[in-house]
Symmetry: C2
Subunit: 125 residues, 2 copies
Amino acid sequence: MSSQPENVPSAATESPSLVHAVEPGPELLDAAAATLRMLAEPTRLHLLWQLSDGPKTVSELTAAAGVPRTVASQHLAKLRHSGLVDTRKEGRNVIYSLRDGHLVRLIRETINHADHQLTGEPTHD
Amino acid sequence: MSSQPENVPSAATESPSLVHAVEPGPELLDAAAATLRMLAEPTRLHLLWQLSDGPKTVSELTAAAGVPRTVASQHLAKLRHSGLVDTRKEGRNVIYSLRDGHLVRLIRETINHADHQLTGEPTHD
DNA sequence: ATATTAGGTGCAATAGTTCGCACCTATGCA
DNA sequence: TGCATAGGTGCGAACTATTGCACCTAATAT
């Protein structure tokens, strides 16, 4: 247990003007990790990236991701069950959309970071 | 600065998406997913969060994360091998630090998103 | 009614991750 | 010299995730 996490030393190299005062508890970390786990798979990330551009049908998403239908479906089911995406039915299509606009920033930040990493990171920032 | 073009009404079958210019290729997606996989574990996320406040020793990190030493060590090894953190040795301590300041933003964005999800959004499915 | 298209689910095999144990090296101290 | 502390590694057991297969429902078209 040891619920005494007020140990944020940060007394080493520089004076931290903006320390984060709050220690994320286990639930927060679990929730965050759960979300990240959803993003941490190339196909799902691809699907989410597509969705960050606007709502799309399963067919569109599947085609863009270049994976078999069952695979896309399973991944979409996971995203659905984890509450990251929303669905509405229109005719015989199911249209997926990102539930939270906040997620768009996260996705783009991630892709951006990876892009920097690939193109040769020159000690950024 | 939050120019989100969300809700692009691509309600039709397929519209020429000129919204996000670049389609991430497989390598980019793999790299991004690899990074996210590193973040997508509560203990590792905790460690990285600690580091986002400044460099720390293994002992400090281990204590903060509240896990056995071997576990922390394994996770730190993964972070090291994936290039997300840097180490320097000082006496008998090893001091870990985030390699890329950019990562701080990603970590905080994630924690922030999870927090928002936990506290402000009781919409459950 | 029947076929077709869009999408979903259950399940088994495989692949990858996490954890804890035992054991190792290097630094500092008495 | 010997011993404690800080940190690391290799390995096996338990767990989780991904995939592909077969099969299912709902909506449209013929």
